[in-house]
């Protein structure tokens, strides 16, 4: 349900860009989704057909690129993958870190005519 609501928002945003650029049809939509973003790719793919029904995106394919969650340890400065390390620095095991990337949810591009 969350995914559908947000995807409807995405469809509106893409439709605006498409209209501004005289796009006639869209074959593919490419999104970038961070590992820490609450949008789950599996669910997004499931509800995508419902979100695009009756819009310029109807019939298009959805491609999702994952952005790896990266954190920088506040203690020793080590940069590491947050999911893999389960939030603890593999170098010094401290759990305080700054998130460098992984929260993104970006409309990257469309393949269109």
């Amino acid at each position: 349900m969350h995914e559908l609501g947000v995807l409807i928002h995405v469809v509106e945003q893409v439709s605006e860009v498409a209209a501004e650029n005289q796009v006639e049809s869209i074959a593919k939509l490419v999104l970038q989704v961070g590992e820490l973003c609450s949008m789950i790719p599996k669910y997004m793919e499931k509800v995508y057909p419902a979100a695009i029904e009756g819009t310029i995106l109807e019939g298009s394919e959805l491609e999702i690129e994952r952005i790896v969650a990266q954190g920088k340890c506040r203690q020793c400065g080590h940069v590491f993958g947050l999911i893999e390390a389960k939030g603890a620095c593999p170098s010094c095991s401290d759990r305080q870190f700054d998130i460098l990337q992984g929260r993104e949810f970006i409309i990257k591009e469309i393949v269109c005519q």
Partner: protein
């Protein structure tokens, strides 16, 4: 057949809403209207808490209430008993309100001469946290039966809130709810959050909450 081209968009989905929210917040500041966004799970006691709050503050402040739900107007009907300006918003299946819907609601209700507008968001701990409504402050109500582990499960919600009401403390003896652990978990996510344990039903702790809201409203509307 025509060749396909790639059109780069590179737009953050939440960015568009963030811009709208900042704009709305600035306008509300100008008009001296304090917008409070209240979030919780379904059944945490939002409507009961807010009805009491409105009754306690309506003689000192001009208040408006926006009830957001997927469907029905039961909350608006309950809130209308207080006599303040109330509007029911239907999100049409959407699980949250965004800044644009909030603006539409405010315009529908009429914002003139309101010191405080309370937005009762859709009962949900996930999506409302992602979408800035343009509110001056965010409040969350967590009720004891939901459990002290909610900050662990919904970190974003707790990290964006300015005030947390822990409701239904009258049933603490019957639940395995560790208040100290809960507070510690919340503070880890949001070090400056104000936490007020309350029981909306009996009124326990409510004075502190009224005072917080009254002070914050005055602060916002003065500057």
């Amino acid at each position: 057949m025509e060749k396909f081209r790639i059109l780069e968009i590179k737009e953050s989905v939440f960015e568009d809403n963030n811009v709208q929210a900042d704009l709305l917040r600035a306008e509300l500041k100008e008009q001296k209207t304090f917008l409070l966004n209240v979030m919780s799970s379904p059944g945490a006691g939002k409507t009961t808490t807010l009805k009491k709050t409105v009754n306690a503050l309506k003689d000192q402040l001009n208040i408006g209430v926006m009830e957001a739900d997927i469907d029905s107007d039961v909350d608006a009907a309950t809130m209308a008993e207080t006599g303040v300006r109330v509007i029911q918003l239907h999100t049409g299946g959407m699980c949250h309100l965004d800044a644009d819907m909030t603006r539409q609601g405010l315009e529908g209700m009429g914002m003139e001469n309101l010191d405080l507008v309370i937005l009762e968001n859709v009962g949900n701990l996930v999506c409302p946290a992602e979408f800035d409504t343009g509110a001056a402050k965010n409040a969350m109500i967590l009720s004891v039966p939901e459990g002290d582990d909610k900050p662990l499960k919904y970190p974003l919600m707790f990290s964006i809130c300015d005030v947390l009401l822990i409701n239904k403390i009258d049933v603490l003896p019957y639940f395995n709810f560790d208040m100290e652990a809960c507070i510690e978990r919340v503070k880890k996510l949001s070090p400056n959050i104000k936490i007020i344990p309350i029981c909306a039903q009996t009124g326990e702790g409510m004075e502190e909450w009224y005072e917080w809201l009254h002070t914050e409203t005055k602060k916002w509307n003065e500057k």
